[in-house]
Subunit: 291 residues, 4 copies
């Protein structure tokens, strides 16, 4: 990506009205900012406007606090809900896993080689000791929080504590085989992205590859979505599929599926870290990559 | 396809045992037939063997009746279920439609220009007069069988009568918006292929594009399957998908979907007409095209 | 698509500078227009700005001539090259063919059923009489302009004359097997879109499927592009591919390829008719569909 | 994959003749072997027959040497060129790299987690010290053989020596940025697979992503092929593509391309290690995975 080194992204949504684009773009223009990229979308059903605007901070001499302060009245005029994200703020995220290594390897490799812009993996959390050596390979702290079947909440509270302690901005469930309780979702200090090993809404829940084989589908897929209290029903960020045939047994589907899972999850993590997503009414507006 | 002009396809399935391939291939070899193409598959779960074998009939001087007669003891020895299909027998099929024209156009165009090997559309049946002019463009008989909401079976009996009268070997539901009753499926003299406008098992039933939009999926698809009494649960023959974004409204999904529906249905019809499908336990073994 | 019935599209490109978005959006806002959709792109190599803006003409009481007149000084201030396209102006285009029917059928079917927004096929031109019956099926005038091998320019002049006479805004080469001379391209009063039956720049020129088979590629494709004097080197609008295997002979590649050609060409025609393309330096900026 | 633990694969090719399938299958049947999987292909242009046959060695009490000895006369009768591969023989391969880490990581991760059946990475060879730490992460020996620009053959001889010394059966160029000389290819004791970062035959040679951007293609791809003396012209094993847009700059194409390169190379390595490839006349017959 060739975004300027020192940039900010504004994510904006409000009821659709005349003059939003003009007002917002004029706001940045008057302060001397170069708008490097600007994407919009109007939901025709809800008459709602969405915008992502990326500005070059070096193009104008305006302090961050001032910029945010100044933007408030513009936002208020259009009842804009907004967030501003600054490239100067490095991002940290947690990865939660159980026993499957492929997504974890893929994420650690990408973070390690700079493929995840401006972000690092702060810690790996698992309910098993199984993948500790993988984290060790990349020198990332690994926390094994095993689940007491009689009190699952205990483990969840420990996970939440770790997320807080490590000051992460995101948690990624990279084949984490525990269903998060509504309590945990309320307590979690950050958004959570999950990879589901099926093309949602097909094969929600457990055992999707086995069920895909039984149903005789001709393509299998994977879905990355934000976690909400309804299992596998959160806003979809990214999906992809691969063609299979009757020759592919369940194990072959799993092998093929792993490659799809890794790449779909990586794309979703990137979209989140690049501040390209606005969620509204359980749908994820995902602006295209590009700049 | 470069299959020899005068050929036969044997579709074979039986419990897996040593010696099937040797016995079957030796059977054809001893009679002097050239095996042009041979594909096999063993279902490891059910230990069941499947085979498609295409022979050049001009390579040996054996009458059709004799060939079939001779094959019986081989089949009996391995408890083979089998069918033999001869290229000399032209195939005829019926297309059932309601109001959407795209699949009908696609099928009629392909039949007209020789893209469907050795097959022709015998008639078009609809529960609406809407698409009569399309059939007329290609000079195919069009029968409008409207549905009496108080007695749906009456119309179904008329459809079955038409299928029999026109001596078709296959019926294709090309966006036919009526659910077939179990009685009709029992009475229907031919297999029936349906195109469902979603990536099954996602969005079974009505309104899949609307539900896909609401769910915020990032790809939409279509599924061709044999019709069984359980709605949208028959053996899947072919599926495909196309990427969509949040920008695509329901109407845009429908437009994109039409192209997928047409091509998925056409591939399924070809697989059936080329005798590349064996159904077992609600799964369709679809041998690859090629020869 | 849910664009408002009465709308205009402005296509804009100019050297990148601060204030373009603000100025252009303010221009429409001040006249009371609702901006329904707005897409932008800045080429970082050439520092060039591109924009597509779709406005609801019914949202403001401004005459077309006045709107265009008023926009001139804004354009001049940023040295904007621009064009404005009004949905009230129905579009007409010509289709040129030789012997292959699939793309022609696909286009005529789409135009006939309203899949090509606001556009109609005015005439079909061919260097062969072969496809006259296809045009007749859809009641479109068909002109057979055969080529005199000793004077190819004569036929080209006749084609240009027909394009002018029928007041078309676009010509589509739908498997038209003649290379257009540079003279013809200079004389042609409209842009020309061609479908090449390969994934350009692979297999430029003649016989791509044969060469694809010989090369043993594992996917084949098709490419729609604007025609320029350099054969198969014009700006690419759309491409797609399909997986093939060693089993697919040349004829099988051609059959598979036809489906890709039809859909790739249709997408390119739609992108052009929806005014989603700006060409710069032999690259086609193709804004996403959506609204 | 659910191939039996102790199996052998026979790869067979010969001029097409009646009786090959019968003879070969009878050969294994008479010795009591269970044929687990059997795939065939007849090249209609060259009238040449290809076959892959996978047998369960535990299904019959026949020693390996005896089996090979017995097969010779069958092969001779049909002038069969053949090779036999036994699952008991673990495979070892070398990976050659320069500076890009993604393919190396992907291969090491797959080998480490058992995704490459029955195979291990014996060593990593590079013309740079850059990726030594990656090999170290997975505890694989890393040899840095730098190139003397005045005598490139010296380095090549060292590489060949390493391949011999480590008894590998395959070498994989995982973004190895050196062109192998014809002498090296003659001396190399093993087949060599390369990943080219373009959809061959498009963009052969250097700088494919830059050239793809300049050409304005709408999809980019990667190609895995066996290395032959003609640069990027060896038999193609696997290809895949991903959709891109005008927004994707050269760096974005590279990022997207890396994911395609990794997965395409991995699929090609698997096809080779699973003995699913027969090369003939510069075309790679790649039998489907499955069993």
């Amino acid at each position: 990506m060739s975004s300027p080194k020192n940039h900010a992204v504004f994510l904006i949504t409000c009821p659709d009205r005349k003059g939003i684009v003009a007002s917002v773009s004029t706001f940045f223009f008057e302060r001397g900012f170069n708008i490097v990229h600007c994407q919009q979308y109007t939901d025709p059903v809800e008459s709602r406007f969405f915008m992502r605007i990326l500005i070059d901070l070096d193009s104008a001499p305006c302090a961050r606090a001032q910029l945010i302060e100044d933007f408030r009245p513009v936002a208020a005029a259009f009842t804009i809900e907004w967030s501003a994200h600054f490239s100067a703020d490095a991002q940290r995220f947690a990865v939660l896993v159980t026993r499957e290594a492929h997504c974890l390897y893929d994420i650690l490799f990408r973070a390690h080689t700079g493929d995840l812009p401006n972000a690092s993996v702060a810690l790996v959390i698992s309910n098993h000791p199984h993948l500790e050596s993988v984290a060790a390979q990349f020198r990332i702290p690994y926390f094994c929080c095993s689940v007491d079947p009689h009190d699952k909440r205990m483990q969840e509270r420990e996970v939440v504590r770790l997320l807080r302690q490590h000051h992460v901005q995101l948690a990624v469930l990279a084949r984490y085989m525990q269903v998060l309780s509504p309590e945990m979702l309320r307590e979690a200090p950050v958004p959570i992205i999950n990879i589901h090993h099926a093309f949602l809404p097909a094969f929600q829940g457990a055992g999707p590859y086995r069920r895909a084989w039984e149903r005789g589908v001709k393509m299998i897929g994977a879905t990355a979505h934000y976690v909400t209290p309804e299992l596998d029903e959160g806003p979809i960020i990214e999906q992809d599929v691969e063609r299979v045939t009757h020759e592919d047994g369940i194990e072959a589907l799993q092998r093929t599926g792993r490659d799809i899972e890794s790449v779909v999850l990586a794309r979703a993590i990137k979209a989140h870290l690049e501040h390209r997503i606005i969620v509204h009414a359980n749908r994820a507006i995902v602006f295209s990559r590009g700049l």
